[in-house]
Amino acid sequence: MNIHEHQAKDLLRRYGVAVPNGQACLTVDEAVAAAERLGFPCVVKAQIHAGGRGKAGGVKLVKNVSEARAAASEILGKTLVTHQTGPQGRVVRRLLVEQGCAIARELYLGMVVDRGSGRVAVMASTEGGVEIEEVAAHTPEKILREVIDPAAGFAPYQGRRLAFGLGLTKEQIGPAVGFMTALARCFIESDCSLAEINPLVVLQDGKLLALDAKIGFDDNALFRHPDLRELRDPSEEDPRETEAAKHDLSYIALDGNIGCMVNGAGLAMATMDTVKAAGGTPANFLDVGGGANVDKVRAAFRILLSDAAVRAIFINIFGGILRCDVLAEGVVQAARELGLTVPLVVRMEGTNVEQGKKILADSKLDIITASDMLDGAKKAVAAAAR
């Protein structure tokens, strides 16, 4: 789960990480009042779950009230298109108004769960403001890295090594270690999957400040953070993905026209690949999971049918824990309730497959059956083209 910059900064502030004074605003008037309170110059920043806002015109430095009003009016409601939003862009629904600051240096500080070492890795670089992937691709030697031992936690010597490596002055080492230690505590105690301070700025008076902040949480750990769960902003998510999440379904919207319903994430990805290999394009990734019941299958089917781009539906099930008869029952119920408006191709294998096939046949619904995954994908592609 991702959160907005202003939410990330609120969380960081609680852990003692230095962030600029600022306020989140939902209207132009609120933004103007916040700017007046904070004093000029200040910065008006679009709050969307995507990077590249500055280049897209979503961040403006303002020097007085009229500039603040103009900037807020322009950004709020605007559709920002950045390299992370996709071509359709994202509508800006809230702003962050922040005090301006006098910057001397821009650095990078990030933390991720590193799969290779199985530990949390801290990365720092002198290339602030540049995406870390780009630094990694072109000048990997500029990335300093420390791995946190889960038993000992982030150790001060690791902070010092990073701080000296960044070329900070003797006076800045102590505060920098404090900054990093606080960020590491926030990361671990909040079950983050990613925390990025880019840029981490050194002010002209020598102080360190998190000028931008990006935080993502491990979805699997949200059960123990009810306060963080509240930070979810559904307007930043695809409505079908939100609906799917309510039913504990794993759904991701794609731009094709063949709706896919599969059990198991690997098989669901493989089904998308097979559709592509058969000359079609998948409309979605959908994993109904191993423990699916009739209600869940019905919800999944409804989500597929709600996608206007879908021209055919391909159900590919290898019943293990999920029994084929349960799947078939859910599909028949959903098709009866909602009406089968597009061709439906079903490939079923595994536990109780004969009962499942019988339920589908007895339903008298217009269902195209397939003998295996490739056969099903081909039939779905052909049906969608009609």
Binding site: P150, D219, A270
Partner: protein, 295 residues
């Protein structure tokens, strides 16, 4: 021959009183696995269909000589369950639980450092040596004893591969689902090492997916150490960047972990790639014929 589990494996179930634990303990016993004990704190002294239940893993091991554990404990308690089993000296721990927080696994990995316990999973279907021992949630009937090993990050895609092999008359030595999470116990390289050393395994099917670099590491290991033929498939060739595809570990992050990179690594390592998941079985059949290996 096989790896990890066989007829002599004595299995205990952690979380035996939950509905999933009950169902799969029953199914594994029906398959022929020796299900010797269950653990649910506070339920010690009772039994599940004749299988004695203990309060702690240590008690269960002491009383029954269990040498493998399977975990169905819910996500919040799964990491603790793994550590309890390791502390009791259980050599093989299979964690089926999906949704374990990743930082819990960071701590578990640290805890397992220097201990003799081998962890499979979490978020996996388990391990099966057909005809001998099934530990996990895979449908037993699709398997048949034989000489092809299967290792995979995906559950249902493993079933797909196994089913295709069985229909072609190609049996399996041992199938290991390593799990779809970013941090897991046994990885591809560990599994390949076991299969390379197993005289009962002639060839290996490896099923990877997008995210991380486990497949690239596996490819390097195959090139350096594996003499047996390997057939591979990578799921997620059409997956968009930056989206988690169901499995917590299946994500192309920062442009890294794409199916294309992984397939290229395997190609360079001399691994045969199955053109589609529907052709895993026939690809293995062709490779076995080319190498003059009986199926």
């Amino acid at each position: 021959m096989s790896v990890l589990v066989d007829k002599s494996t004595r299995v205990l179930t952690q979380g035996i009183t939950g509905s999933t634990g009950q169902l799969h303990t029953r199914l594994c016993r029906e398959y022929g696995s020796q299900m010797v004990a269950g653990v649910t704190p506070g339920r010690g002294g009772t039994d599940f269909e004749g299988i004695p239940i203990f309060d702690t893993v240590a008690d269960a091991v002491r009383a029954t000589g269990a040498n493998a554990s399977v975990i169905y404990v819910p996500p919040a308690g799964a990491a603790d369950a793994i550590m309890e089993a390791a502390d009791a000296g259980v050599p093989l721990v299979v964690c089926i639980t999906e949704g374990v927080p990743v930082l819990d696994m960071v701590r578990v990995k640290r805890f397992l450092d220097g201990r003799a316990t081998r962890l499979i999973g979490p978020n996996c279907p388990g391990v099966i040596t057909p005809g001998q021992c099934k530990i996990g949630i895979m449908p037993g009937y699709i398997h048949t004893p034989g000489k092809v090993a299967v290792v995979s990050r995906s559950g249902t895609l493993t079933y797909e591969a196994v089913h295709q092999l069985t229909l072609l008359g190609i049996g399996q030595s041992t199938c290991i689902g390593i799990g779809g999470d970013p941090i897991i116990g046994t990885g591809f390289v560990d599994a390949l090492r076991l299969f390379q050393d197993d005289p009962g395994t002639q060839a290996v099917i490896l099923i990877g997916e997008i995210g991380g670099t486990a497949e690239e590491d596996a490819a390097a290991f195959v090139k350096a150490h594996v003499t047996k033929p390997v057939v591979a498939f990578i799921a997620g060739q059409t997956a968009p960047k930056g989206k988690r595809m169901g499995h917590a570990g299946a994500i192309i992050a920062g442009g890294k972990g794409t199916a294309g990179e992984k397939m290229e690594a395997f190609r360079r390592a001399g691994v045969t790639l199955a053109p589609s998941p529907a052709e895993l079985g026939v690809t293995m059949q062709r490779v076995l014929k080319e190498k003059g290996l009986a199926s």
